[in-house]
């Protein structure tokens, strides 16, 4: 997907450097990249069928076409409602999502009895469900783009969203285990056959709240601080929300037995705080709190157990997965074996054996894919993720209002952190924590939440790249004019 960067240097960027912003929407680039992504997805599906069925069915292109149709719809929505949005985001996400659907369909094919494989319907199995969820999630993203014509408008609902986010996070913890617990983690709300993971949406809601709160408190947090041991500490009353969020993270860890989510929220908060205040001390405090908390949890887990036992076990597995390879370390060991078997080039799509990997459709999908596309394929996937994250950060850099900067920066970083946490977990770099791999893992909540995240990034990038139109309505004018005001927020203060 480095192709996305190959079109000649963007005039928008060139214009920015020369102080003049030129309006180029680059929607056609987005369309061609999207088509390229769908061709890759179709080719992936064809390779899978060639490997698993020894033939390529005449219908191999159907999942890719269904995805292509809905992505094309989103492209059209962008074309009309966010014409200046970053053209690389949609194709990159579409590629990941398409490969995810393709891999899950491949998983279904592998599981199906040999004789039934050729007749597997496109909406059958996990892959088919994922395809359906994708269609829904993309429509949701388009709807969000249509409703939210300006990203600053969401700041009006910041407190509501903040409260809603906390409720969503806490909900599974207070619900009985029968409808909220799965595989030892209380993260779900399960009603009948439908189950959602409210935490996935809470991520978005909380970030809106963080961004809004921090933009309002920027000066106090960064200026009204006391220096202690060479580190700037803010006043206690400004520190309040930090402590509250830190506690929520801990509560999530304790009650929902999930380190990944608490790490994600905490990292998300610390980074937005850092971006808002530009104080490295926040990062230091965050890291100390995080590692201190992790060590404390490990220590408590080894001594008193209780709610920390889960974390202790995971840490022990991480330190030596092969100590108990058939029981506690089983998942991680199998993940490592899958990746190792894939080697440099992989077994080829459809050539591996993802069926023997536990949780391959969720947490371990990256290992399952890695067995088949190898180190080179996985590196390319990581580059696509990196591209999405850096494009999000780029939108944050370019957008002119503080709220937008914090929102886009926080969302982009959170996405990157989530990829790091899960991929690092399954490859033994960090302790394994259950997280979905964005756009790849099976699951409607994750897909919808992440597509909403992309919609927000698209909206912010549209705001960032849109030519500045002042009261005079000139198409292009020198940048550096007064930043547009965030709803109810004080003007950005430029520090001496």
């Amino acid at each position: 997907m480095t192709v996305a960067a190959t079109p000649a240097p963007s005039p928008a960027i060139a214009g920015e450097q020369s102080g003049v912003r030129l309006a180029r929407s680059r929607r056609n680039a987005e369309l061609s990249l999207l088509l390229l992504a769908m061709v890759l997805v179709a080719a992936y599906g064809a390779t899978v069928e060639a490997n698993l069925l020894d033939t390529v069915t005449p219908d191999f292109w159907m999942p890719a076409a269904a995805l292509g149709a809905v992505f094309l719809g989103l492209h059209l929505v962008i074309r009309f409602l966010a014409p200046f949005a970053d053209p690389a985001l949609l194709p990159a996400v579409a590629l990941l999502n398409g490969l995810g659907v393709g891999f899950l369909r491949r998983f279904d094919l592998g599981e199906a009895p040999v004789d039934d494989r050729e007749s597997l319907a496109i909406f059958a199995g996990v892959g088919g469900r994922q395809l359906a969820w994708t269609l829904g999630a993309v429509i949701l993203a388009a709807a969000l783009l249509a409703i939210m014509r300006d990203h600053r408008s969401v700041s009006r609902y910041a407190y509501t969203l903040g409260l809603g986010g906390i409720v969503l996070v806490m909900l599974p913890a207070v619900l009985p285990a029968s409808i909220s617990e799965r595989n030892g983690a209380k993260l779900w709300i399960q009603v009948g056959s439908i189950s959602i993971q409210p935490g996935e949406f809470a991520k978005l809601a909380l970030l809106v709240f963080f961004a809004y709160y921090l933009v309002r408190k920027r000066e106090v947090l960064s200026l009204a601080s006391r220096r202690f041991l060479g580190v700037d500490f803010p006043r206690g009353r400004d520190l309040g929300p930090v402590v509250v969020v830190w506690l929520i993270s801990l509560l999530v860890l304790v009650f929902e037995k999930d380190l990944g989510t608490s790490l994600l929220y905490f990292g998300m908060f610390v980074v937005t705080l850092y971006i808002a205040t530009e104080r490295v001390s926040w990062l230091l405090i965050g890291l100390v709190l995080f590692f201190g908390g992790a060590y404390l949890a490990y220590f408590l887990g080894s001594t008193i157990g209780g709610p920390f036992a889960n974390f202790y076990v995971r840490a022990e597995i991480w330190l030596d997965p092969f100590a108990d390879p058939t029981d506690k370390g089983y998942q991680l060991v199998q993940g490592l074996l899958a990746l190792g078997t894939g080697g440099l080039f992989g077994a080829g799509p459809g050539g591996g054996q993802p069926e023997i990997l536990p949780e391959v459709e969720n947490d371990f999908i990256f290992a399952g894919i890695g067995e088949e596309i190898g180190l080179f394929g996985l590196s390319a996937l990581l580059v696509v993720y990196l591209l999405i994250v850096e494009r999000g950060l780029r939108a944050a850099l370019a957008v002119r209002d503080s709220f937008g900067k914090l929102l886009a920066g926080g969302l982009a970083f959170t996405l990157g952190l989530q990829v790091f946490v899960i991929v690092g977990g399954i490859s033994g770099l960090i302790p394994l924590t259950g997280q979905t791999t964005p756009f790849l893992s099976a699951g409607g909540s994750s897909l919808m939440a992440n597509w909403l995240l992309i919609a927000v990034l698209l909206r912010v990038s549209d705001g960032a790249r849109r030519p500045v139109t002042g009261s005079g309505g000139k198409a292009a004018r020198p940048s550096g004019g007064p930043p547009e005001q965030l709803h109810g927020a004080p003007t950005e203060v430029i520090k001496p």
Partner: protein
């Protein structure tokens, strides 16, 4: 706020760099270790992804692979059941494979270098012909008889073994160890089922997993007298030479007398060597052994194949089923000098002498085959997956020549006497010249004796057609006569259905 945003961008790149470095570590540096790890189920799935070749005898598939719908595509089944278990072995999913399945694993699985041409052909034709086929020397009929007769022996022995060999080639005609087991459950794709079946067999006090024909040794009793007789014939004693005998003889320095199995056996002070063999005269052979000396005896036994611990039975000149070494054992005093009492006991196959049924059959085969011992083998032919090409056809090989043709002829005459008028009469086959030697070996004072029979059959032209050894563990009284009867039955079946020859 742009400076921290740029730094966050750098942080994300560093995080992804770490992921990339770690993936390199796993997928490049550690890849081989993970790929071949014992915990990696893919190794197994790949092994079961192609059809494994058949193991066949006499045109019947005894081990074959059936397609299934499971993760492992082919299930190994053994239509021959328990009858062939000790020869074929088994190919379990999680345990170690055994028998011919283990020995010829590469060829059966199709990974052998000799099959590279077939694999290349498959690549071009798109076929998946699977692994090669192994054809055994076993005679279906002889194996049937050996298995049925051992199981239904008339003395109620629960453990035993029988092996029949073509003396002129070394091809194994029948090989049975009792009790046996059904190998199919061990090859089950359900790991728990397979492990349960294995544990049950392993904990069985009768040891059904042991291959008693090749790898278990027991005192051979009087069958060892053939070796002593061979040594005597080579040391100036003729078949008609009178040797000292008598109803009882006490070796010098030892107080315990050696007696004959029955007072009617060689009661006179002297007996001819021929009669000593025919009637299995213990006192005669004990004195003969002491007269010849321990070194002569041990050397003769060694020439017959004792002390060889690297013999395998499979393909000629290659790996095969492992065998245990037969031993003459210690016959010395603590100071290193020969202990006459021990030597006397050893001369009648007691004391520390231990022999495998295979060794017994090899002795009989050498006697039958003019003193030449052919190397025993089980694999007759290796056939390509599509059965068109033969990659290996056994060409019999001489293992050693323990005795000269003249000595072999004398021994043959003595052993024929045993069957015609001595202790081995039940082994007789009409129309064939059958020779043999029975043996009754004490295992422990309070346990029933083992019954042995080693023998051979010659056709009317004097050409050897089968040599056999039957062992019935703790068979008690009448054990050796029953072993002789079973030995005769097996040889008769082997003659009627030459199997791999």
């Amino acid at each position: 706020m742009n400076a921290p945003l740029r730094r966050v961008g750098v942080v994300v790149m560093v995080l992804f760099g770490l992921l990339f470095a770690n993936l390199n570590w796993i997928q490049a540096y550690k890849a081989d270790e993970y790929r071949t790890s014992d915990y990696n189920g893919r190794v197994q799935v790949a092994e079961y992804d192609h059809k494994r070749g058949n193991i066949e005898a006499g045109g019947t598939a005894l081990a074959t692979s059936k397609a299934t719908n499971g993760t492992l595509k082919f299930l190994r089944t053994y239509p021959g059941g328990a009858k062939y278990a000790h020869v074929l072995g088994y190919k379990p999913v999680n345990l170690a494979d055994q028998g011919i399945e283990r020995v010829e694993n590469d060829f059966l699985a199709g990974t052998s270098d000799t099959l590279i041409g077939d694999r290349l052909k498959d690549m071009f034709t798109g076929d998946d012909t699977g692994g090669g086929n192994v054809l055994l020397t076993l005679s279906k009929r002889a194996q049937d008889v050996a298995y049925d007769q051992l199981r239904n022996n008339q003395v109620g022995a629960k453990r035993g073994a029988a092996i029949a060999i073509d003396p002129s080639t070394g091809a194994v005609q029948a090989l049975v160890s009792m009790p046996s087991f059904d190998p199919s459950p061990l090859a089950s794709h359900n790991g728990n089922e397979a492990a349960a079946a294995f544990n049950k067999l392993e904990q069985d006090p009768d040891g059904p997993l042991k291959n008693r024909a090749l790898s278990e040794t027991l005192p051979p009793g009087s069958t060892f007298k053939i070796v002593v007789a061979a040594a005597a014939l080579e040391n100036g004693i003729g078949k008609t030479t009178q040797i000292p005998a008598g109803p009882s003889w006490t070796p010098p320095t030892s107080g315990s007398p050696i007696r004959n199995a029955d007072p009617s056996i060689c009661p006179n002070p002297q007996v001819s060597l021929l009669d000593a063999v025919t009637y299995s005269c213990n006192t005669g052979f004990a004195q003969l052994g002491v007269q010849l000396g321990a070194d002569t005896l041990k050397e003769k036994a060694r020439q017959f194949g004792f002390e060889q611990d690297d013999l395998t039975v499979g393909q000629l000149g290659e790996d095969g089923l492992p065998t245990a070494a037969s031993r003459t054992g210690d016959m010395q005093n603590p100071d290193g000098s020969t202990d006459p009492a021990a030597l006397a006991q050893s001369s009648i196959g007691q004391n520390n002498v231990r022999m495998t049924p295979l060794q017994g059959a090899l002795i009989a085969a050498a006697v039958a085959n003019d003193g030449k011992q052919q190397r025993p083998y089980l694999v007759r032919q290796l056939l390509a997956p599509d059965r068109t090409t033969s990659y290996y056809t056994a060409k019999s090989r001489e293992l050693r020549q323990p005795v000269s043709p003249q000595v072999a002829a004398d021994l043959r005459e003595m052993m024929v006497g045993v069957v015609q008028k001595g202790t081995g009469r039940k082994a007789a086959i009409s129309g064939y010249t059958v020779g043999g030697k029975t043996g009754t070996a004490q295992s422990a004072p309070d346990r029933p004796d083992h019954g042995w029979f080693v023998g051979f059959a010659l056709d009317k032209n004097g050409k050897p057609v089968s040599a056999v050894c039957v062992m019935l563990e703790q068979a008690g009284s009448g054990g050796s006569a029953e072993a002789a009867r079973i030995g005769g039955q097996i040889m008769r079946a082997a003659i009627a259905d030459p199997g791999g020859r």
